[in-house]
């Protein structure tokens, strides 16, 4: 049997009267990179937030390595959240901390590591995203691409079981997109389990194990990238791909 890291089973999510997820079943195996595409409002981000346990599903279940997270209360959830890394569209770096402080924060306050050790590991991670020389800079002083790389390091330093990316390049200037995608591609090559919501179809083509199309709160189609882009089965996927330039 495949080694499933994250699994969502028939997940429903409503905001008031609006049903954003209408029964989504989805799983990602260890080392897989799943890319989710779809129009805005289709529920991609909400699905990611349910997987990250930032939102509790109204129906269905979320499992992390077989453990049913949707059964846990807020207090018990906090430590589990640190096992899934989340990268946001707008980086969301802690503005009152340096790059190093941001990366150390989870180790010190969640993992309770001694400061010295946390610092060591955080510096290693900053080096890995090519920002060791920016350790003492505050987010305000970094470019968008640099901020996003710090955000990736901040999530990665926790050694999460899976990394979730919510449109990580959508808020970036065009010339800064590449540096972030390079980091993500390196992670994929190293066998990191990843779920990526993105409009970067080329990234999906090159890196994804499979690509998913979401529309109107449902997964419309899932296929390996070659098949997905050259011969999509669903009409909805075709229409979407026609509109989005490769």
């Amino acid at each position: 049997m495949a080694d499933v890291v994250l699994r969502a089973v028939d997940v429903h999510k409503c905001y008031g009267d609006l049903e954003v997820l209408k029964g989504v079943t989805f799983e990602v195996d260890r080392g897989q990179v799943k890319v989710i595409i779809g129009p805005s409002g289709s529920g991609k981000s909400t699905l990611l937030r349910c997987l990250a346990m930032l939102e509790a599903p109204d129906g269905g279940d979320v499992f992390l390595e077989g453990e049913r997270l949707s059964a846990l209360g807020e207090k018990q959830l906090a430590p589990h959240r640190s096992e899934v890394g989340m990268v946001f569209q707008r980086f969301n770096l802690f503005q009152n901390m340096t790059a190093l402080g941001n990366v150390m924060c989870g180790l010190v306050h969640v993992r309770r590591l001694p400061k010295g050790e946390a610092r060591q590991r955080a510096l290693e991670l900053l080096a890995r995203v090519g920002l060791e020389d920016k350790a003492s800079q505050y987010p305000d002083e970094l470019s968008g691409g640099q901020q996003q790389r710090v955000a990736i390091a901040r999530a990665l330093v926790m050694r999460p079981k899976a990394m979730l990316f919510d449109e990580p390049t959508s808020a970036l200037d065009v010339e800064l997109v590449r540096e972030v995608l390079d980091v993500m591609e390196a992670l994929a090559r190293e066998g990191t389990t990843m779920v990526v919501v993105t409009h970067e179809l080329r990234f999906a083509q090159h890196v994804a194990s499979s690509v998913l199309m979401m529309d109107d709160g449902r997964i419309v189609e899932e296929a390996p990238p070659k098949e997905f882009f050259s011969a999509p089965k669903e009409e909805r996927t075709k229409r979407f791909l026609d509109l989005v330039e490769l």
């Binding site: 989340m86 009152n96 306050h109 955000a151």
Partner: protein, 248 residues
């Protein structure tokens, strides 16, 4: 016209014991009342932002009660009425200073809670989201991420509050607290000279507020998060409600 100005009387007043002690009392009262108000105001602000309706209602009632009634009435109430209602306040410990501290803290906390609430709201919700995603608890996120960022927004209006409160301490003469204005009045009524005693007390107020303004700009720089410690304070990013105090 200045011929009648008695510079000797002015200097005597400025350096006299009652003035020193009065100024010190005013400053002490301002500092302790503001510190207490910041603590109470912080919890009232948390109540106002709570998901629990009951806490929101309590916070609302608190702010309504203490902002809708005159500060002078609150001072009178704490000093005269409270000991008759509650025996604890009839003891020797209950000095005019203690009464003024209680009344001004409770009053000021209502204003501070609104300032702190605005500060907390000014922090991007994405900050909390990122903290939760990392596995931090709500308390950790509040203490390590949100409050440090809100401080920057809260400092300037709190400086305003300090100044307002400093001037409000002069109200405490009605409950026989010997503060700065009392010293000026006593001197004036014993010498029948008004300009010198009043100007002398004015000098003290100016000195205290000047010191405060210096401390404030230091604090603002301290809570501006850049590695270069810019000389220029960064512009506050959020609108803070301007509360007019003159009628308090």
């Amino acid at each position: 016209m200045l011929a009648s100005f008695d510079s000797h009387l002015f200097w005597t007043a400025l350096t006299s014991g009652p003035y020193w002690r009065g100024a010190l009392t005013a400053l002490e009262l301002t500092v302790v009342a503001l510190a207490t108000a910041v603590v109470i105001g912080f919890f009232v602000a948390l109540g106002a932002l709570s998901r629990l309706r009951r806490l929101r209602t309590l916070a609302w009632i608190y702010n309504w009660l203490f902002r809708a009634t005159p500060t002078l009435l609150q001072l009178y109430f704490v000093w005269y009425a409270l000991p008759q209602i509650w025996g604890v306040f009839a003891g020797h410990w209950f000095t005019p200073f203690a009464a003024a501290w209680i009344a001004l803290s409770l009053n000021e906390a209502a204003y501070m809670s609104e300032i702190i609430r605005a500060g907390l709201l000014s922090v991007d919700p994405g900050q909390e989201l990122a903290g939760r995603a990392l596995g931090m608890t709500r308390r950790q996120i509040l203490g390590r991420v949100i409050v440090p960022q809100a401080v920057r927004i809260v400092i300037p209006p709190t400086g305003n509050e300090f100044i307002t409160l400093l001037k409000l301490t002069s109200l405490a003469f009605v409950i026989s607290l010997h503060e700065l204005l009392t010293a000026a009045q006593e001197l004036a009524s014993s010498t029948f000279q008004y300009p010198e005693p009043l100007l002398a007390s004015l000098v003290y107020y100016l000195a205290i507020v000047s010191a405060l303004m210096l401390i404030q700009s230091r604090l603002e720089r301290r809570f501006t998060f850049t590695s270069r410690r810019r000389r220029r304070a960064a512009p506050a990013t959020a609108a803070v409600p301007v509360v007019s105090h003159d009628a308090r």
